[in-house]
């Protein structure tokens, strides 16, 4: 009706999918090439989920870390408008700094400004090694952040040198740390985690008690996927 035509500010509920990507020296060459390829390849699928599933608008935020950290874009971008910008590798692995910066942005004054309508974010960490800076305090701070607490989290250890225990301290569960020993595996993992997180994260099922039903569901699916993955891997790196 005409009376409500001028209502402004209507917005879809949003879910942010965070990618935290290790772009240190050891990632250079085929590894970073595969990461670029895999993530760029998964964007169209996430677009589909966002438009068909439709309870939430999915936005993407990507942070790369090597010597220093860098956000690909200053704010999370609607997946429909998102263009993957190819990243290069080189430098140290300042994961601790990445955690600090993530903690800052997981706040109402920053990326989570649309608090009322926001779903819990999904956070995806990809690394092939171990942090070269102090990270334990940063993880403790993150754990106190409500957005982080309720987020769906997963980590991918790329190759054998990745510090899986450390990645498990980030996800809070070692079942949420997947290992990719080959490019195909990496592509599969990135695809599976992004798609599953987007589907679960944007469902409008509300928990009656403050339980982690979504996180449990996510963990279950990831674990199942992981056992299939392990069976099919061969060591290429």
């Amino acid at each position: 009706m005409g009376k409500y035509d001028n209502v402004e500010g209507i917005a879809r509920r949003t879910m942010i999918l965070f990618f935290l990507i290790d772009t240190s020296n050891s990632m250079s060459g085929t590894k970073i090439g595969e990461v670029n390829d895999a993530i760029e390849g998964v964007i169209p699928e996430i677009k589909e989920i966002s438009s068909s599933n439709a309870d939430a608008l999915i936005k993407i935020a990507c942070l790369t870390f090597s010597t220093g950290v860098k956000w690909m874009y200053p704010n999370p971008v609607d997946v429909n408008d998102f263009k993957w910008s190819y990243v290069n590798a080189g430098g140290m692995t300042e994961m601790g700094k990445a955690f600090e910066v993530l903690n800052e942005k997981l706040s109402r004054n920053e990326f989570m400004a649309e608090v009322a309508g926001s779903y819990a974010p999904a956070i995806f960490l990809l690394s092939d090694g171990a942090p070269t800076d102090e990270y334990k305090d940063a993880i403790e701070k993150l754990k106190k952040n409500n957005w982080f607490k309720y987020a769906l989290k997963a980590a991918v250890a790329i190759g054998d040198d990745a510090d899986k225990d450390m990645l498990a301290s980030f996800t809070g569960d070692d079942e949420l740390v997947l290992t990719a020993h080959s490019p195909e595996a990496l592509r599969k993992v990135i695809r599976f985690v992004s798609v599953t997180a987007s589907k679960i994260g944007s469902k409008s099922s509300v928990s009656a008690q403050t339980t982690n039903a979504k996180q449990d569901d996510f963990a279950e699916q990831i674990t199942e996927f992981n056992s299939d993955l392990i069976d099919s891997q061969n060591d290429n790196w």
Binding site: Y4, A11, R12, R13, A113, A116, Y150, S205
Partner: protein
């Protein structure tokens, strides 16, 4: 001073529940809303049944919640002994008792419903395994309220005094020159999570607010409305527009216009069920 013993005048009220875009497939709206008005009081109440799969009778839970809310508050206003407005301890005590009573009645109603309508085969798979075992053994289970889980928000206006009750997410706004939300945010209602009538510590999350005065309007809504707006002031602006439309065209005309708008809004915004209960002063 006895509340509700003086007549209120020029008050009108409406209640709307619109099914959410995400529920069109199932056809079940989990929200409920209702209003009540007589010469001494006006009450608006909304409730949002949870979408969680364990809350498979939530649409009934929210229906019972608004029926009971209105019934209990009617009783409260009609029977309230002299409330000394200077004695905030006494008033708070009275509200704690009211909230206790509402919870008690809702728990009783849902329990009786479950006893009269046993769990059906198609519902078993949605239950917690431990709960089902207990149900099989005892015919009831301790956490039975969860299947009816719902939020609850109620606003009431009497002559010179008004109050709000809220448990869970959703919004309650009062227009005293402009719309504001007097109840502070509940930190336990965070992101997609909410407290509920079915929690085992529900009384602790049940909040109330009261004040002297004759506001121009009180509006209570489920989170499907508020979450269709990224910024709070846009949401409050909308309430202002709704109030204006009700004052100008009257409830009879305003209701279908608003319903049609909510149908579009859920599609463009939250995708969730949307409910609004409004009490508006028309003319003076």
């Amino acid at each position: 001073m006895i509340i509700g013993n003086k007549e209120i005048s020029n008050i009108t009220s409406l209640a709307i529940s619109q099914i959410g875009a995400s529920h069109l497939d199932s056809g079940i709206c989990e929200d409920s809303s209702a209003v009540y008005q007589d010469s001494n009081m006006a009450i608006a109440c909304v409730a949002d049944g949870h979408g969680d799969s364990r809350c498979f009778r939530a649409n009934l839970g929210s229906k019972f919640a608004v029926e009971i809310g209105i019934q209990c508050v009617k009783e409260f206003v009609a029977n309230q002994p002299n409330l000394d407005f200077n004695d905030t301890k006494e008033i708070d005590k009275a509200f704690v008792q009211l909230k206790t009573y509402i919870l008690f009645k809702w728990l009783e109603r849902t329990k009786n419903h479950l006893l009269a309508h046993p769990i059906e085969d198609r519902e078993i798979g949605l239950m917690d395994h431990k709960d089902y075992k207990e149900y099989q053994k005892e015919g009831i289970f301790k956490s039975y309220p969860i299947i009816y889980g719902s939020t609850f928000i109620l606003g009431c206006v009497t002559n010179g005094f008004y109050f709000i009750l809220q448990l869970g997410d959703g919004d309650a706004a009062v227009d005293n020159k402009k719309f504001t939300m007097p109840l502070p945010e509940d930190p336990r209602c965070f992101g997609p999570y909410t407290t509920s009538l079915c929690n085992d510590d529900a009384i602790d999350s049940f909040r109330h607010y009261y004040a002297k005065g004759n506001p121009k309007a009180i509006m209570v809504s489920t989170d499907g409305l508020g979450k269709s707006f990224a910024e709070e002031h846009r949401f409050l602006d909308l309430l202002g527009v709704i109030e204006k439309n009700i004052v100008e065209s009257g409830v009879e005309a305003a209701k279908p216009e608003l319903t049609a708008f909510f149908e579009r809004l859920t599609e463009l915004g939250s995708h969730d069920d949307i409910s609004l209960g409004a009490i508006v002063r028309v003319g003076e």
